[in-house]
C-alpha cells in the first residue's frame, strides 16, 4: 500500500547512520556521532508511530480482521524458481507492535547514553554499533520471509557481540562476548537446519505462504517424515532451539548473565527489551505453523518456558550483582512469554495465550528497560554494582528511586501498573491449559516480587553506606529517559491489547479475570512483604535463612552448576578430546604417511643408485644375466604352449 512506502526509509536511515558514525565518527567530535545516532532513531521512531497509527486505525483491517501488508519485497538471492530470499517489509499486528517497542526503547537508550557514556573512549563506536543493532533488529521484525529473519538474526547476534565486548581491553568482557556469540551460534545451527528442512518440505521461505492456516505449507507439512519422525515437529523444535538460544531459555541461557559485561544501556536495549525477545517473536510469527502442524513442539515450548521462568527466578534471589539479578529476571520473564505461547490455542478466546505473550513482551520491554537504566543510573552515581556495598540511596537519587519503584511494582504485577494486566492474561491462559504450569507460574510470580523488592530495598533502603563521594542524581538526558519509560510502565497496561494483537488477526475482547488476579496479587504482596522484612532495614535474617538451607543456597548461588558443565564440555571435550587429537592425527598419521612415502622413496633410491656405477664390466654382467633370464622365460613359455 502506497502509504506504507515511507516505512521503507527506517532501515535506510539506520544503516546510513551506522556507516556514517562508524567510518567518520572517529575523526569528528564524539558528540557529533551521538547526535547523529539519536536524531536518526528519533526520525525512525516518528515514522514507526506514524506507520502504527496508519496500520491499526486506517488501513490494517480488511473487514474485522487485521491483514498482512507487504509494501516492499525485493529479490535478494535466488536459488531456483521456488526458493529465493527476498528483502522486504511485512506489516501485521505483531511486526508493527515490535516496531513501536524497538524504536521507543532504542530512542530512550540513545538519549540516556548521551549522558551515561559521555567521556568514554569510543563514544562514536558505541553509537555506530547501536545504530547497527537497531537496523538489524527492526529489519528482523519486519522480515517477509524466514531467511530474511535468519540474516538479521545473525546480524543482531554480531551487534550484541560487538556491544558486549565494548570494553575490549577487559578480558572478562572479551570472554563474555565470545560466549554470547558462540552459544547463540550453536542454537542458530538448529534454527538454520530447521529452516532448510522446512524449505525442503514447503518449498518456500515466505511467511505469507508458511503461516496461512488454509495454505499448502500447513496442509502438506504434517504428513512428511524425517528420519522416521514427524518432520514438522522436528523442524519446529529445531527452530525453537534457535529461539531458545536468542531468548536465553534453559539450558542455553548461560550467555545472558555474562552479557552484563557490556555497558548498561546496551543491557537495557539488547539484553532486556529487544534482542532477547526475538525468539518469542519468531515463535509468534510462525504460530499458525506450530498450532496446526507441531502440537508436540508447542508442548515442549510450554514446559521449557515454565521451567526456565522458575529456575531463573530462584537464581535471581541469591545473586549479588544488581545487573545479574536483572539478567536472571529477564530470563524468567521471557520464560513467561514462551510458556504463554506454548499454552495458547488459535483464534477467539483460545488464543488468549498468544495475545498475553505479546502483551507481556510489550510491557516487559518498558519496565525492564527502565529497571536496567535505573541500575545504570545507580552505577553511574556510585561506580559499584554489588548489592552488599550499597544502600540508602533514596536520598541521593530521588528520580531514580521513584522510577525504579514503579518498575518493580510493574514487574511484580501490582495493579494498576502494566505488568499486572499482562501477567493476569498469561496466568489465565495457563490456568485454562494446564494446572501444573499455572501453579508453577504463580509461585514464580511470587518469587519475582520477592527478588525485585530485595533489589529495591537493598539499593534504596537497608544500611546507610558512607560513599567516597556524595552520589548525585544523573544528568537530564538520563532522567528524561527514565521518566518517559516510567510513564510507559505505569500506563501501558490500560491498552486494550487484544483489540490489536491476536493469534488470528480478529480482535479479542479481554477483561480482567478476578478469579486469577486476586490470588496472583496476594502472592506478589506476600513476596514483597517477605522482602520488606528481610531487607528494609539491615538485619541478619537473610544470612540466617541462607545458612539454614545451606547446601541448597549454595547450589542456587552457583547457578545450579550449569556454567561448570559448559566449561567441561567446551574445554574438556572439544579442546582436549576432539581438536587436540585431530591435530595430532593430522601431524603424525596423515602427514606422517606422506613423510613416510617420501622417506621410503629416498631410501629405495639410495639403495638402487649403486646400479649406476659406470663400470662396463658390471653393465655387461647385468646385461648378460638379463638375457639369460629372458631366454629362460621365453623357453619356459614356449614349452608350455
Amino acid at each position: 500500500m502506497e502509504i506504507f512506502n515511507i516505512t521503507g526509509i527506517i532501515p535506510i536511515i539506520l544503516f546510513a547512520s551506522f556507516l556514517f558514525t562508524g567510518l567518520a565518527g572517529g575523526r569528528l567530535k564524539p558528540m557529533v556521532s551521538g547526535i547523529t545516532g539519536t536524531l536518526s532513531i528519533f526520525i525512525v521512531t516518528a515514522v514507526s508511530y506514524y506507520t502504527a497509527y496508519k496500520y491499526f486505525f486506517e488501513f490494517g483491517k480488511a473487514g474485522n480482521e487485521y491483514i498482512k501488508i507487504i509494501p516492499f519485497n525485493l529479490m535478494w538471492l535466488q536459488f531456483n524458481d521456488t526458493l529465493f530470499i527476498n528483502m522486504g517489509i511485512l506489516l501485521d499486528p505483531i511486526s508493527v507492535m515490535m516496531l513501536i517497542v524497538i524504536s521507543t526503547v532504542s530512542l530512550m537508550v540513545h538519549l540516556y547514553s548521551l549522558g551515561y557514556m559521555k567521556g568514554e573512549t569510543g563514544f562514536a563506536r558505541f553509537y555506530s554499533f547501536l545504530s547497527l543493532f537497531t537496523f538489524s533488529m527492526i529489519s528482523l521484525v519486519i522480515s517477509t520471509n524466514l531467511f530474511q529473519t535468519y540474516i538479521f538474526w545473525e546480524l543482531v547476534g554480531i551487534s550484541s557481540y560487538l556491544l558486549i565486548g565494548y570494553y575490549y581491553s577487559k578480558p572478562s568482557a572479551v570472554a563474555a562476548s565470545k560466549k554470547a556469540f558462540i552459544v547463540t551460534r550453536f542454537a542458530d545451527l538448529g534454527f538454520l537446519i530447521g529452516i532448510l528442512i522446512l524449505s525442503y518440505i514447503t518449498k518456500t521461505f515466505e511467511y505469507t505462504t508458511l503461516t496461512d492456516p488454509n495454505g499448502s505449507a500447513i496442509n502438506q507439512g504434517s504428513s512428511v517424515l524425517f528420519l522416521g519422525l514427524s518432520a514438522m515437529n522436528v523442524t519446529l523444535i529445531l527452530i525453537f532451539i534457535g529461539c531458545a538460544g536468542k531468548s536465553a531459555m534453559f539450558p542455553l541461557h548461560i550467555w545472558l548473565p555474562d552479557a552484563m559485561e557490556g555497558p548498561t544501556p546496551v543491557s537495557a536495549l539488547i539484553h532486556a527489551a529487544t534482542m532477547v525477545v526475538a525468539g518469542v517473536y519468531l515463535i509468534a510469527r510462525l504460530f499458525p505453523l506450530y498450532i496446526f502442524s507441531g502440537a508436540d513442539a508447542l508442548n515442549v515450548i510450554a514446559f521449557i518456558g515454565t521451567f526456565t521462568s522458575l529456575f531463573a527466578a530462584l537464581i535471581a534471589t541469591t545473586q549479588m550483582d544488581i545487573k545479574r539479578i536483572l539478567a536472571f529476571s529477564t530470563i524468567s520473564q521471557i520464560g513467561f512469554m514462551i510458556m504463554s505461547l506454548g499454552v495458547s490455542g488459535y483464534g477467539d478466546t483460545n488464543g488468549l495465550g498468544f495475545t498475553a505473550s505479546m502483551f507481556h513482551l510489550f510491557t516487559h520491554a518498558m519496565f525492564k528497560a527502565l529497571l536496567f537504566l535505573c541500575a545504570g543510573a545507580v552505577i553511574h552515581a556510585i561506580h559499584l554494582n554489588n548489592l552488599n556495598e550499597m544502600g540508602g540511596l533514596r536520598k541521593y537519587l530521588p528520580v531514580t528511586h521513584i522510577t525504579f519503584l514503579i518498575a518493580c511494582l510493574a514487574i511484580s504485577g501490582i495493579p494498576p501498573f502494566s505488568g499486572f494486566f499482562s501477567k493476569d492474561e498469561i496466568l489465565t491462559a495457563a490456568f485454562a491449559k494446564n494446572k501444573l504450569i499455572f501453579t508453577t507460574a504463580l509461585i514464580t510470580a511470587g518469587i519475582t516480587a520477592f527478588y525485585m523488592f530485595r533489589l529495591y530495598f537493598g539499593i534504596f533502603w537497608n544500611k546507610e553506606v558512607k560513599y567516597d563521594k556524595t552520589p548525585h542524581e544523573a544528568p537530564k538526558t538520563m532522567t528524561t529517559a527514565l521518566i518517559i519509560l516510567a510513564v510507559g510502565s505505569a500506563i501501558t497496561g490500560f491498552i486494550p491489547f487484544g483489540n490489536f494483537v491476536s493469534s488470528n488477526g480478529v480482535p479479542l475482547e479481554s477483561h480482567i479475570h478476578f478469579e486469577i488476579a486476586i490470588p496472583a496479587v496476594i502472592t506478589a504482596l506476600v513476596g514483597i512483604f517477605v522482602a520488606y522484612i528481610f531487607y528494609k532495614k539491615e538485619n541478619n535474617l537473610p544470612v540466617r535463612v541462607s545458612s539454614a538451607v545451606g547446601g541448597l543456597y549454595g547450589i542456587i548461588y552457583r547457578k545450579f552448576f550449569i556454567d561448570e558443565i559448559y566449561i567441561f564440555i567446551t574445554k574438556g571435550l572439544i579442546f582436549r578430546f576432539i581438536s587436540g587429537p585431530v591435530v595430532w592425527f593430522d601431524r603424525h598419521i596423515v602427514d606422517g604417511t606422506m613423510n613416510g612415502i617420501a622417506f621410503i622413496t629416498n631410501l629405495v633410491s639410495e639403495k638402487i643408485k649403486y646400479f649406476q656405477s659406470g663400470q662396463v664390466q658390471q653393465y655387461a654382467y647385468v646385461m648378460l644375466s638379463g638375457i639369460i633370464i629372458i631366454v629362460i622365460t621365453v623357453i619356459y613359455i614356449l614349452s608350455n604352449l
Binding site: Y168, R185, S579
Partner: protein
C-alpha cells in the same frame, strides 16, 4: 578478447626485466596488474553484455589455434560465467598481492617475475578449453611456487617447498593419466580430442568413466585440499611469503575446485553419480576436520591453513552434491574464500612485520595500537564465520540450501555434519580475534607500532569492498553463475 589476459602479464614480465631499481620493478608490476584487473573487469562486463543481448552459447569469446597437429592439441580459450568470475578473482588477488609485497628488498626482480608467471598460469588455466593446454598452465602455476617458497619463504622453507611441490606434482601425474585417458577414449584414429566442449558431447562407457573419475578428481582434489591429501597446505602456507600465501590460498586452491567441476563432473557425470559418495564422505570429513584442527593451533598461518581446508572442503562437497544450487554455491564459495583468505594472509603478513611473531599466545590488544589492521582482520574473520552482509554467508547458505535438496539419509547426514562447521568456525575465529586483537596490550613495544601504510590500506580496502559487495548484493553474481551451469547440469541429469 581473451588473449590479452595472457599478453598483459607477459609484457609486464619483459618490462620488469629491463627495470633498473627495486622501485621501478614494483611500480611496473603494480601497473601491469592494475591494467590486468581493469581488463578482466572489462571482459566480465562484456560477457554480461553479450549474455543480456541473448547470446546463449556455452562459451563466449572462443578462439582456437592449432598447436600440435599430430595429437590434435589446440590452444583453445573461451569464457563462461564461472571462469569469468574466477579470472576477476585472480586479478584482484594478484594486484593486492603485489601491493602487499611493497616492502620486499631481497631479489625483488626475480620475486615479481615468478609471482606474475604464477598468475599467468592461473589465468591460462581458467580460460583454457583444451585439456592439454589447461594442464600445461596448471604446471606453469605450480612450478614457480617452489621457487617462491624456497627462496623468499620463512621457517622450514625448503622442507615446505619440497613437500608442496612433490605432492602437487604427484597429483598432476595422476591427473595426466586421467587426461590422457579421456583423450584416448574420445574417438578413434585421427578424431581424438582434448577439447572440453567436444568431450562433453560424448557419452563415455560407464567403466571407462569409473576408471578415470577418481584419477581426475583426486588429481585436482589435492590442490583443493581434499582430505587426507591436504597436508602440504599448512606447511606450505606457513612458510610462504605473504603474496604467495595470498595467491596460493586465494586462487591456486580454486584451480582444484574448478578442475573438479569442469573436468571431473562435467565430462564424467555418470561416474560422478556412481562414485560421488566416497568423495562426499572425504569432503565432509575435510570440512569438520579442518575446522576442529584450526581450534587449537597457535600460529596464525596454521589457523588459516586449516580453515582453508575446511572452506575448500566445502567447495568440493558442494560440487559433489551436483545440483544447480549447490554447484552455484561452490563457485560463490570459491570466490568468497579466495577473497577472504587473501585478506587474511595479507593482514597476517602485515601483523607479522610489526610483531615478528605469529604465535597468538604471545600477542594481544592489537586493536588499541593498530586499529585499521585489526578492524580489517575482524571483518575477514566475520566473513569467514559466515556473517550476513559479507560474501561467506551467501556462499555457505547457497551450498546448504542446495545440499538439502536431497532427502535420503546419507546426503542429509553429510549435510548436517557440514552445517555444523559454522559453529566450529565461529569458535576458532572468535578465539583468534579475542586473543590477538582484544584484551589488554601484551607488550609495551606494541604501542609504538604504526598503523597501516598506504599500500596496506589499499590491499585491505580493495578486498573488503569485494567481500562486502558480494555479501550485500549477491544476485547478479549468483544469476551469472547459475546460467553458466546449465550445460553441466544437463550432463549430470542426462542419464
Amino acid at each position: 578478447m581473451l588473449i590479452p589476459l595472457l599478453i598483459i602479464p607477459t609484457i609486464t614480465i619483459f618490462l620488469i626485466l629491463v627495470c633498473r631499481s627495486h622501485k621501478q620493478v614494483k611500480v611496473v608490476s603494480a601497473a601491469g596488474m592494475a591494467l590486468q584487473l581493469i581488463y578482466s573487469i572489462y571482459v566480465l562486463i562484456e560477457y554480461l553484455n553479450l549474455r543480456s543481448l541473448g547470446n546463449i552459447e556455452e562459451m563466449l569469446f572462443v578462439q582456437s589455434y592449432q598447436w600440435f597437429e599430430s595429437f590434435n592439441i589446440y590452444f583453445t580459450v573461451g569464457l563462461d560465467g564461472i571462469s569469468a568470475s574466477l579470472a576477476v578473482l585472480t586479478a584482484i588477488v594478484t594486484f593486492s598481492g603485489v601491493l602487499a609485497t611493497w616492502g620486499l628488498e631481497y631479489r625483488v626482480k626475480e620475486f615479481f617475475i615468478s609471482l606474475i608467471v604464477l598468475s599467468t598460469g592461473v589465468y591460462g588455466f581458467f580460460i583454457s578449453l583444451d585439456l592439454f593446454t589447461m594442464f600445461m598452465f596448471y604446471e606453469l602455476a605450480v612450478i614457480p611456487m617452489y621457487l617462491l617458497i624456497g627462496i623468499w619463504g620463512s621457517g622450514k622453507k625448503e622442507y615446505s617447498a619440497m613437500k608442496l611441490t612433490l605432492m602437487l606434482m604427484g597429483a598432476s601425474a595422476v591427473l595426466l593419466v586421467g587426461i590422457i585417458g579421456l583423450y584416448a577414449n574420445s574417438g578413434s584414429g585421427d578424431n581424438l580430442t582434448y577439447n572440453i566442449l567436444e568431450l562433453a558431447k560424448l557419452n563415455l562407457p560407464l567403466d571407462v568413466q569409473k576408471f578415470l573419475f577418481p584419477l581426475i578428481f583426486v588429481g585436482f582434489g589435492v590442490l583443493g585440499a581434499l582430505f587426507p591429501l591436504h597436508t602440504w597446505s599448512p606447511d606450505g602456507h606457513s612458510s610462504a611469503p605473504t603474496a604467495v600465501s595470498m595467491l596460493h590460498a586465494g586462487v591456486l586452491m580454486k584451480m582444484g575446485g574448478y578442475g573438479c567441476l569442469r573436468v571431473a563432473m562435467y565430462l564424467l557425470p555418470e561416474a560422478a553419480n556412481e562414485l560421488g559418495w566416497i568423495f562426499i564422505v572425504l569432503t565432509t570429513i575435510s570440512v569438520v576436520y579442518g575446522a576442529f584442527g584450526a581450534i587449537v593451533q597457535k600460529d596464525l598461518k596454521y589457523i588459516n591453513a586449516y580453515s582453508s581446508v575446511s572452506h575448500c572442503g566445502l567447495v568440493l562437497f558442494a560440487i559433489l552434491m551436483s545440483n544447480k544450487i549447490s554447484l552455484n554455491g561452490s563457485v560463490i564459495q570459491m570466490i568468497s574464500h579466495g577473497l577472504m583468505t587473501a585478506l587474511f594472509f595479507a593482514l597476517i603478513g602485515m601483523i607479522y612485520e610489526r610483531t615478528h611473531t605469529r604465535d597468538i599466545n604471545l600477542m594481544g590488544g592489537l586493536m588499541k595500537t593498530i586499529p585499521f589492521l585489526s578492524v580489517s582482520y575482524m571483518i575477514a574473520g566475520f566473513a569467514s564465520l559466515g556473517l550476513p552482509g559479507l560474501s561467506g554467508f551467501v556462499a555457505e547458505m547457497t551450498i546448504f540450501v542446495g545440499a538439502f535438496q536431497y532427502s535420503d539419509t546419507f546426503h542429509r547426514t553429510a549435510t548436517i555434519i557440514a552445517c555444523a562447521s559454522i559453529v566450529i568456525t565461529a569458535v576458532y575465529i572468535l578465539r583468534v580475534v579475542g586473543k590477538l586483537l582484544l584484551g589488554p596490550v601484551e607488550n609495551k613495544d606494541y604501542l609504538t607500532f604504526r598503523d597501516a601504510f598506504w599500500n596496506e590500506r589499499a590491499v585491505a580496502v580493495i578486498l573488503i569492498i569485494a567481500i562486502a559487495g558480494i555479501g550485500i548484493a549477491p544476485l547478479w553474481l549468483s544469476d551469472m553463475i547459475t546460467n553458466s551451469l546449465n550445460p553441466i547440469i544437463l550432463k549430470l541429469r542426462s542419464f
